[in-house]
């Protein structure tokens, strides 16, 4: 997973489909990121913040009881242990440093489950930047506590009442804000999506997950790589970061989407939010609304590099249902004492289902546990009380 082709292309996907007003800002960002990424001082500062503030490196945990339960050797890359509770911090610290480097003073962000919003608000507080987070109204209701957390961190949360009132509408609104404020504002996009350079930049900022995990797995496995590497996919940032560490190994790469928002499987090529990718849409090109219990995966598209990895076959994309996800959530809690976020519970749900089917017993499996489940406890409680079904 190297540089995209000119214009930000990953095969036929990617590109930069934004209004003219935003084109110069995307070009400026591309130049600023390339410059920063080649600058050892920038890399060193980012590494130090992620270490001393973020708690990196995160461990790879071998799950003995879960392994016994499932019949495979289960390893978890513990992004739930990063400060603020998810892998999202890796990306936002990089973008906040870049914002400062570009001389801008404000961040806007979209958020679904609230994890990227909380991470952005956290980085904004750390670096003294203003912060506005757009969140679908439906998600503000599902993730009330995260709204309050963002406000405690000094961010302004603006509920979005347009459309499906979820993540895709929050992205629209963040883009609209950015068009009007681009002279002093950076759009801190939370996933490997959007116009070039975002998909590439966010993957590079997240590759620390995969790079660390590969070394840690080799230490654990006498120099070998896992047989299967699994991560959940909404836009796909934790999966992209994870896959970046393993793309040149023999490991099978599997991205798991919510069954109600599986753009890699059910989507067709289209253009949304500045990128050409696989999208859930109707026959004339109206975007459809994704639906799952996990607000962070309620996105009708997928990052363009994932669409390209799916096309080439280097990674496979699978689905997990809400019910399977709730089971996996409880399974990890009971066997390992870890509450996963509902998003990575999709990755666990897939492996729980596929052992002895798509995945041979005795395989070694690495799952990226992209975030912790505290934010989801109230929702899981309600779902279980309602008879385990989806909302």
């Amino acid at each position: 997973m190297g540089l995209p082709a000119p214009g930000g292309r990953f095969g036929e996907y990617g590109g930069r489909f934004v209004p003219e007003s935003l084109v110069p800002a995307c070009m400026e960002l591309e130049e600023a990121f390339d410059d920063a990424w080649a600058d050892p001082a920038f890399r060193a500062e980012l590494g130090a913040v992620l270490r001393d503030y973020g708690g990196r490196p995160t461990p790879v945990t071998e799950c003995l009881r879960l392994s016994e339960e499932l019949g495979v050797r289960m390893l978890l890359k513990r992004e739930d242990l990063v400060h603020a509770g998810s892998h999202k911090l890796n990306n936002v610290v990089g973008q906040a440093l870049l914002t400062r480097r570009m001389g801008k003073r404000r961040l806007v962000a979209e958020t679904g489950a609230g994890q990227h919003g909380v991470a952005t608000a956290t980085a904004a507080a750390l670096f003294g930047l203003e912060c506005t987070v757009y969140m679908g109204e439906l998600d503000t209701e599902r993730q009330e506590l995260n709204v309050f957390r963002m406000e405690l961190l000094g961010a302004e949360v603006r509920p979005v009442r347009a459309g499906s009132r979820t993540l895709k509408d929050a992205v629209n609104e963040a883009l609209r804000d950015w068009v009007a404020t681009v002279d002093h504002t950076h759009y801190c996009l939370g996933s490997v999506m959007g116009p070039h350079p975002f998909p590439y930049m966010v993957r590079e900022l997240q590759r620390v997950v995969g790079d660390e995990a590969r070394e840690q797995c080799r230490a654990l496995l006498d120099g070998a790589d896992p047989d299967v590497v699994v991560a959940c996919v909404g836009g796909g940032s934790n999966a992209a970061g994870t896959f970046a560490g393993f793309a040149d190994t023999q490991a099978r790469l599997v991205g798991v989407e919510a069954a109600g928002g599986a753009a890699a499987t059910d989507g067709i090529p289209g253009v949304l939010h500045g990128m050409r990718s696989l999208l859930l849409q109707d026959e004339v090109g109206q975007i459809l609304e994704a639906e799952s219990i996990s607000a962070g995966l309620d996105y009708p598209g997928i990052g363009p590099e994932h669409a390209s990895l799916a096309a080439s076959g280097r990674a496979r994309y699978e689905k997990a249902t809400d019910e399977e996800v709730l089971d996996a959530f409880q399974l990890l809690a009971r066997t390992e004492g870890i509450l996963p976020a509902l998003e990575p519970a999709h990755a666990l749900a897939w492996i729980a289902r596929e052992v002895g089917r798509g995945v041979p017993r005795g395989s070694t499996v690495l799952v990226t546990l992209s975030g912790r489940g505290d934010k989801d406890v109230a929702q899981v409680r309600e779902l279980l009380a309602a008879g385990r079904g989806p909302r």
Binding site: F17, S21, G163, N172, I287
Partner: protein, 258 residues
């Protein structure tokens, strides 16, 4: 089909300021009558929106009109058919987002516009770098692709955009999305001046131009104005063809008096 650019150049040559109102296709039962009323009240060309689920460049008013249109079952084909049947005596440019064009197919879209007598298209999320596939088919079908120049567009790029724009050059009045504003942006005159330096094509200003007085002020530097949200809001409020006619008439009067 009326070719947009020669038509606008001829009118400009007569000393007339160009008025380009915007109506969202399919937004109400009587939207075609509103279109006819807009033409009769003095529009020089009309921009017709083809609704898209995720209009990134649009503010709340146009968004709402798009939702109404989609709820009423508007599709790209139906909007195009309705325009064809409206019997307008001024040129039409459709305005939509690229996914609609992409899913319809470049060639099919260009030919269907041409067949409906629609001579121009505006696709705001298709910037210069991504333009070639569509522009080749649009040029072949003699459908003019109108490009946008923004306040943030740097100098050499302004020239590249203007060289590729057909019909007119759409000068974006301010950084932001569509919607009514108290005043026209201070960047407006500068954008128009920078466009004029590299082209003699008609220059129309849009995004935020809301009142007859603003339209007149803009036309002191520009050749014309695009007025969207202010008209669409009146239609959303149920004003229908009468309100459209009255408002466009006021805009016309202001431009002619200027």
């Amino acid at each position: 089909m009326i070719a947009l650019e020669p038509w606008l150049r001829a009118r400009r040559g007569e000393g007339r300021k160009l008025l380009v109102p915007y109506v969202m296709g399919g937004m109400s039962e009587d939207w075609v009558e509103s279109l006819q009323a807009v033409a009769a009240a003095g529009a020089d060309a009309i921009e017709v929106g083809i609704p898209f689920s995720d209009p990134m460049m649009d503010g709340p008013v146009i968004q709402r009109a798009g939702v109404h249109a989609l709820d009423r079952g508007a599709t790209p084909a139906r909007v195009v058919d309705d325009v064809a049947s409206a019997g307008l005596e001024v040129p039409v440019a459709v305005m939509t987002y690229y996914n609609i064009v992409f899913r319809t197919g470049h060639r099919r879209m260009a030919r269907s516009l041409r067949a409906a007598g629609i001579g121009a298209a505006i696709v705001p999320d298709l910037p210069l770098e991504e333009l070639d596939g569509w522009a080749a088919e649009a040029d072949a079908a003699e459908v003019a692709t109108v490009l946008l120049v923004a306040p943030s567009t740097p100098e050499p790029r302004v020239a590249d955009i203007c060289a590729r724009s057909r019909g007119f050059v759409y000068a974006v009045a301010r950084m932001g999305v569509t919607g009514e504003r108290e005043s026209v942006g201070s960047e407006t005159a500068d954008v128009v001046r920078r466009v004029r330096r590299v082209t003699d094509a008609p220059v129309c200003v849009g995004v935020g131009v809301s009142t007859p007085a603003q339209a007149r002020a803009v036309c002191e530097v520009a050749d014309g104005v695009v007025v969207g949200s202010a008209l669409v809001r009146r239609l959303l409020e149920g004003g229908g063809p009468d309100a459209a006619s009255e408002f466009v008439g006021q805009l016309r009067e202001a431009l002619d008096a200027g």
